[in-house]
């Protein structure tokens, strides 16, 4: 009656998992077990509390040996979670792992339904389809591909730096690509780090120079990944190196050219200092920039605009390092794995107009204040407001662009802590009265709550309530010439007006504007809020759905420096684990041509995005190079003569699944002896 896959008649073992209460509370697993026992081909049908546990897996193995099972079906959770587990168990018992098939009755049934009878029916349908399907399963050979030991890291913030050093120290080649002119990322802008108040530069800059001088690291700053193709183990990457109009190998960072620029005064906003200071058209991002190489800003340099500059900078350079005709160059590299550590951006405070950022000069973002309190910042560490005064009172508003229906719903995790840190630093620098306006204080972390406690003892004020507005509307003399913060103090239940000299907006973290372009480039997913999506939020937090591409740091979600560093280490370990294994097993779901049916119509050839299909002129048949095939199955669906076959997703297998779901819903149960448990 059925195709029996050669000579061996299918002897199917069926196992339905309770998953504790996760499945059993809504699906009558016994009923499913009994029902499946009546289906043709089923020799063993059992239910068990946790199929994925060791005893559960041993159950399968024992049955394979004792009852000569040659097909295994497990109804439990999603195959994305445990297909691998059960395949390994099947293989251990001496059966080809691809005789196993999984039925998802947790994510697709018990977790999304609420009626026991219906859930049980749906489980039976799905189980029946799988039983029909495994009749057509075939033994397959695993496909392995070698791993190129070189690693590409995109983004040179603390995450990228940490990952690069870890991998390079393990003796593997790293390409670190950074979009800006220097590595260091946001951390380089910070003054101190919470809660230990370590100087950020003191702990970061040694790492930055280690990256620069490491023999295993190729550092390309002012560069972007333009194109990537290939797959895990063998990615081909094209990197664009943007022109900085200075020859990197020749420049020693003496800055004579900057001195010589015909602009005697710096007059363009300095990006690194958040526009609080000025730079020239030729500049170094900051004193510890790595690499220590100057660059030109063609937008502001006179010579780029009018070609009539005296070019005093070129005269000043005795190493002839300046090349105003420089153009972008491209590097092509092959790597086996990739770590994305592209970071975050801060929320644009102008989008919350009630706080007056951009309208009142003395409203600052937290990142601006980081520069303001920094000894190497625009004011040399003096906290002076834009109108040149030293503030006597400062209000720090938490959750700007976080936990807000109107902007971002998520908590940015770091703002409470950095607001405490800034409160401490501002108080230390100015002796001002500092007010923190918070919704909830969130200080989970080693030493964090203690830091909060310390701040309360330092006399920083804490007002619980989301600030309504920052206004220059004065109703009493004390408020004149000040910014008044209007807030409902929810602990005492009154609306308060607190006049201050300076307002700091604790802006939240959000995905970079072009995160979705990067996501597309690397073929990974984003979660709803726009951060890169991890493979599993708990068990695979640095993996993505694309093999060989890992994520680290705030590009995956808001996080602080310790978590970022830990995650970077994890991503590095994932790369190293692939590298030291030397190869990776891939799903053998490739397609192949059944030559005797192929009519040579060539319909399939243009469909393949990987050019895996070619045409054999001598026999007038198509040919699929399995090494290039990624197993999407598009050609299989398009072949008019049905002469392409995709392993694991053969036509027969899918048709039998469809039939199993629909046609055989009412067949008479077969009376036979089946092992129950």
């Amino acid at each position: 009656m059925f195709s029996t896959n050669g000579n061996n008649t299918p002897r199917i073992g069926f196992y339905v998992c309770h998953c504790g209460h996760n499945i059993a509370s809504l699906v009558d697993v016994e009923e499913v077990r009994k029902y499946v026992a009546t289906l043709p081909g089923v020799v063993v049908s059992r239910d068990y509390k946790y199929m994925c546990s060791d005893p559960g897996q041993e159950l399968i193995q024992q049955d394979i040996k004792e009852n000569k099972l040659n097909r295994i079906v497990v109804a439990s959770c999603s195959p994305l979670l445990h297909e691998h587990t059960f395949r390994v168990a099947t293989e251990k018992a001496g059966l080809n792992p691809y005789f196993f098939h999984m039925v998802n009755i947790r994510e697709n049934v018990s977790w999304v339904l609420d009626n026991r009878e219906i859930a049980t029916e749906k489980s039976k349908d799905l189980a029946r389809a799988a039983i029909r399907r495994v009749f057509f399963h075939k033994p397959l050979e695993k496909k392995t591909v070698p791993i190129n030991p070189a690693v590409l890291i995109v983004g040179g913030g603390i995450a990228g730096i940490q990952a690069a050093l870890t991998i390079a120290n393990a003796g593997k080649k790293v390409y670190l690509v950074e979009r800006d002119a220097t590595i260091g990322g946001h951390m380089a802008m910070f003054d101190k780090t919470f809660p230990t108040l370590d100087c950020a530069a003191c702990i970061l800059t040694p790492k930055m120079s280690a990256v620069k001088s490491h023999p295993n690291i190729t550092l390309w700053t002012y560069s972007e990944v333009e194109k990537i193709d290939g797959f895990v183990g063998d990615y081909h990457v094209k990197v664009k190196r943007k022109p900085r109009y200075v020859i990197e190998d020749l420049c020693v960072g003496c800055m004579d050219c900057i001195e010589a620029c015909i602009y005697k005064e710096a007059k363009y906003p300095d990006e690194f200092n958040q526009g609080l200071s000025k730079r020239k058209p030729i500049y170094i991002p900051f004193p510890q920039a790595t690499p220590m190489v100057v660059l030109f800003d063609p937008e502001t340099c006179i010579d780029f605009k009018s070609h009539r500059c005296k070019k005093t900078c070129i005269e000043a350079c005795d190493r002839d390092a300046i090349d105003l005709k420089q153009v972008a160059t491209y590097e092509n590299i092959n790597v086996g794995t990739v770590i994305l550590s592209t970071g975050f951006q801060t929320y644009d405070a102008k989008l919350s107009p009630q706080y007056g950022y951009g309208k009142f000069p003395n409203v600052y973002t937290s990142l601006e204040v980081e520069r303001l309190v920094n000894a190497s910042g625009p004011t040399g560490g003096e906290v002076i407001t834009r109108d040149g005064k030293r503030p006597k009172s400062v209000g720090i508003i938490h959750c700007v662009g976080s936990r807000d229906e109107k902007s971002h719903k998520w908590c940015s995790r770091v703002c409470c802590m950095y607001s405490l840190k800034l409160a401490h630093l501002i108080k230390e620098h100015t002796g001002a009265e500092v007010y923190n306006f918070y919704i909830d204080m969130r200080t989970p972390g080693k030493g964090y709550e203690e830091f909060y406690d310390k701040l309360m003892n330092e006399g920083v004020h804490f007002v619980r309530g989301r600030v309504a507005e920052v206004t220059d509307w004065a109703i009493i003399p004390e408020e004149e010439q000040k910014l008044t913060i209007r807030v409902e103090d929810t602990l005492i239940g009154v609306v308060r007006r607190i006049p201050v000299d300076m307002v700091v907006l604790a802006v939240g973290m959000e995905p970079k504007d072009d995160a979705s372009e990067i996501r597309r480039l690397f073929n990974i997913s984003c979660s709803n809020e726009g951060f890169f999506l991890e493979r599993h939020p708990k068990l695979a937090p640095v993996n993505t759905f694309t093999d060989g591409i890992f994520i680290a740091g705030a590009c995956q979600g808001p996080r602080d420096i310790p978590d970022t560093v830990a995650q970077a280490g994890a991503a590095a370990a994932e790369c190293l684990s692939l590298i030291s294994a030397g190869s990776i097993e891939l799903e053998p779901n490739t397609a192949s041509i059944i030559e005797k049916y192929c009519s040579g119509c060539k319909s399939c050839i243009p469909l393949c995005p990987y050019t895996a299909i070619s045409f054999k002129e001598d026999i007038k048949k198509a040919y699929i190079n399995e090494a290039l095939c990624k197993g999407c199955g598009t050609c299989v669906a398009a072949c008019p003569s049905g002469s392409i076959l995709q392993n694991l997703f053969e036509d027969d297998q899918i048709f039998s699944e469809i039939d199993g779901l629909l046609k055989f819903a009412g067949i008479e149960p077969e009376k036979k002896e089946v092992l129950h448990a």
Binding site: S78, P79, L80, L81, N104, R106, E107, N108, W111, V112, L113, D114, N115, I118, A119, K122, D125, L126, A129, R520, N523, S525, C526, S527, N528, L533, F545, T546, N589, L607, P609, K630, G631, C632, G633, T634, V636, A637, A638, Q646, F649, D651, I654, F655, E657, I658, D659, L661, L662, K663, A665, G666
Partner: protein, 165 residues
């Protein structure tokens, strides 16, 4: 069997691509979103794998609707499998029209891995839609058709007998 008395419920077969929509369905599960129980999902690697015959076969075997879920345009794990599916889908809709099958019975949706709630809304919406359309019941209709043809054939053969006589 025993469900003759029950109210008719649509049967929908869904083909979800492994990378986006199947993952989204998993997310819907993990988020405990409740949705209509009428859909049975078949996992494939890419929506490009969906052979029009799968859809035809599903309807012919008694499905009232077929749902195909793939990655958003530009997001396909295999670059462009979803575009190929879209092309096929458009042609297929014309075929359905000419066969007198309502186009709404077959639906193609782009659902990314993070859109668990979209899985819920699409499925609920589709179930509601098919409920309005009523049963397709192709197997029954084809059986009736077979019977009719049989009867006509009988008639013809009778006539032939008469003529010969």
């Amino acid at each position: 069997m025993h469900n003759i008395e029950k109210k008719w419920e649509p049967k929908i077969i869904a083909f979800f691509c492994n990378w986006c929509t199947y993952t989204a369905a998993d997310l819907a599960g993990v988020s405990r979103l409740k949705y209509a129980p009428n859909v049975r999902v078949i996992r494939i690697m890419c929506s490009g794998r969906v052979d029009p015959q799968f859809i035809m076969q599903a309807l012919a075997s008694g499905a009232d609707g077929v749902l195909i879920g793939g990655c958003h345009p530009g997001d396909c794990h295999y670059s462009e499998g979803n575009y190929k599916m879209l092309r096929r889908f458009r042609l297929l809709q014309r075929v359905f029209k000419s066969m007198g099958i309502d186009e709404k019975r077959c639906r193609l949706e782009w659902i990314s891995a993070s859109e668990g709630d979209k899985v819920k809304t699409v499925i609920n919406d589709m179930v509601e839609q098919i409920q309005k359309l009523g049963p397709l019941a192709l197997p029954e209709r084809m059986a009736d058709l077979d019977k009719e043809i049989e009867e006509i054939e009988k008639e013809i053969s009778k006539e032939e007998v008469v003529e010969h006589a």
